[in-house]
Subunit: 409 residues, 2 copies
């Protein structure tokens, strides 16, 4: 049992002993959904959390949602109204964003391996393409000519530095993402030569970072780099995406990101932009940070087994629907996501339990030695911090169980 | 670049420089499939490999296919004709097995978290249920009574030992799988009391093991344990599933399993069974070992990028369709699956390359510093040993790319 606690949560309060979602007890929501497992996202919390952040951002800074974090259509439609733009990573995501009502003017498309057809779809849709490779330039020019439409482009730059302490490193050294900073001037010449509509730069130095100072430093470095590149662009920069990487606490002992210094850092950059890049908007692109805390994964206990002194709660949820919580998505050693019983009250008999899924593999594990009230088949368990990289990032077909339901409440 | 080679392969020969599948060049197969990426399974190799193994197994030993390894319907239909039985892990897999023409008499159903409805479906189908928990016994009895059908059962035993050196440990100590050996006698009394049709035992001590001696030892220990439990069953044992766990070489330096001693060990057990458990069939349950080598994953190069001296081949295939090859499925540190260019000839200029997928994450990587002939967009790359835990074990919806095609050739 870990001795460190999970960070306190700001959503899904426990009222009269039961977790509530958007004002209703989880048992009622489960009855409404009609099957377990399911993901639930809290619309009210999203409005408050995302709307609140947007309001706190300095003037001249725009907030984008990277929908790869959670592409659920109803969520994307909600988010389209809460943020300044949607970032998509494939033509499939582009369709969802357009269906959700996002304006093409406020959609950008990044990805290191865009297919020819996807580039053409992006031009036809009128969205901004973040160019990740010299290869994309003539393809976009050809699509623009064929379709009789402008190709709106920004250049994704592979910076010569990385975001320190990130869960995933996206910049520095040789990378498949973006164009090496030192090759950008030649690319800008080519973009201009082929008549593409240059709008700005996109930089992304890392993800899932809880260290405010590292984020501030990376944002500033991205800005400085973009500034030096902008001088060589010939065309004014209208948009400068300095990436995201703002993390959320998943594991015991992790502390929430201290937002204030990051926002203060952005304010400083916005002021500089006004002077040094007049007319340019700064864009912060966040996925996980906007939606992870707003979601839970709910599974039902199928069995309580005692095996050689250890208690196992076997649930209908597991790795196939929540790969990240099982510890199999980019983690070297598995640690527990916050996991609680839907119903918990003082005075209940408690025990340390291992929470596992229904699959025939020891990888299918949602909790190691979690302290829970003694559970019985039929009880609901809740995995918090599950609004990002859940259903869409899991091998739902594995072992042939039904896919889970996702609801926005 | 790893200095150790991958184990030589027995399928997908290179003829005139090009990988062939079932006698045709991969480029022709790719044209027939019509899109990349795709998985291809070699029907002829499967017939030879699975049929050959079945023929080499001693009399009294049956070969089962654990379809969790690859549930592609056409493959399951082929396998149903090549093996003695199909093992399913969910009601979803049961449907595929029945549709594939597998006889219910030769289907068994294991899984630590079977839903009530799944147990009822199994009784209605007439398949053997491997009981993993005391909880399942009254549910099966009720289903049998309601449906007016017998409930065929075996007991999955959690042995007090484990298969040494396994990729995954499935027995020994407290586990969610099966019933602790020491509690089986009481369970047998309950099974008899409730009138279920007891047929035998199922033991499974580990998986993905390349050490023949460890497998022989585990098989013998499983047999001895089952023998001691059988003495307390009251009903003759008709089937004794001693599990599988036979591994395949994935990574540089790994050697193929030496089958001969494992088969010799089974022959010894079959002889003992004839004397000590008359009428009982020994069952070997294999998934990966039967199909992994028979499959390839084919992706197309979208881009060749040079970033700060490193070459990246960006392909349309990746983590979302082949999670295991990306190193994110139960591996602590990623190592390369065997990966080659579809076309390779002596004299071609070669270079070390990183092969990555189209996703915006550094986890999306199929090969680190692989020595390949210099590739261009449009070229096909092949990941071998991909017939098991491929499409069905991958998060195909991640980032919204189209699902891959699977073909049996």
């Amino acid at each position: 049992m870990s001795t460190l606690p999970h960070a306190p949560r700001r959503a899904f309060p426990r009222i009269d002993g039961e977790i509530h979602v958007a004002g209703q007890p989880l048992s009622r929501l489960a009855a409404r959904v009609g099957s377990t497992p399911f993901y639930a996202l809290d619309r009210g919390f999203l409005r408050q959390h995302v709307g609140g952040l947007r309001a706190r951002l300095p003037a001249g800074v725009q907030l984008h949602y990277a929908m790869k974090a959670n592409p659920m259509p109803a969520l994307v439609a909600l988010m389209a109204g809460l943020v300044d733009g949607i970032d998509v990573a494939s033509a499939g995501e582009l369709q969802v964003a357009l269906d959700a009502g996002a304006a093409p003017a406020h959609i950008s498309f990044a990805g290191p391996g865009k297919r020819d057809a996807e580039l053409r779809q992006a031009v036809a849709a009128g969205v901004l393409v973040n160019i990740e490779s010299e290869r994309e330039v003539p393809l976009l020019a050809a699509a623009a000519q064929q379709l009789g439409l402008p190709a709106r482009v920004a250049v994704r730059v592979n910076p010569p530095f990385e975001l320190k302490g990130s869960g995933m490193r996206m910049g520095g050294g040789g990378r498949p993402f973006g164009v090496d900073a030192e090759r950008v001037p030649a690319l800008l010449t080519e973009i201009s030569h082929l008549g593409l509509g240059f709008e700005g730069f996109h930089l992304y130095a890392g993800s899932q970072n809880l260290n405010a100072a590292a984020l501030v430093e990376a944002q500033r470095a991205c800005f400085d780099l973009a500034l030096s590149l902008a001088a060589q662009a010939g065309t004014p920069v209208r948009s400068l995406n300095v990436g995201g990487g703002w993390g959320v606490p998943y594991f015991p002992g992790e502390q929430p990101l201290d937002e204030a210094p990051v926002i203060a850092g952005l304010a400083e950059l916005a002021a500089r932009a006004q002077a040094e890049l007049p007319g340019a908007a700064l864009v912060v692109e966040l996925g996980r940070y906007l939606v992870a805390e707003a979601g839970i994964y709910v599974a039902r206990v199928l069995d309580r087994k005692v095996s050689r002194g250890q208690v196992f709660l076997v649930t209908d949820g597991g790795l196939h629907q929540h790969l990240a919580a099982s510890g199999n998505f980019g983690q070297v050693f598995r640690r527990n996501y916050p996991l609680e019983a839907a119903v918990d009250r003082p005075g209940l008999l408690r025990e340390p339990v291992n929470v596992v899924g229904p699959l025939c593999t020891p990888l299918d594990r949602l909790g190691d030695l979690v302290d829970l009230p003694q559970a019985q088949p039929g009880d609901l368990l809740v995995v918090f911090q599950s609004g990002a990289y859940g259903a869409s990032a899991s091998p739902q077909d594995f072992l042939g169980h039904p896919h889970c339901v996702e609801v926005l409440v």
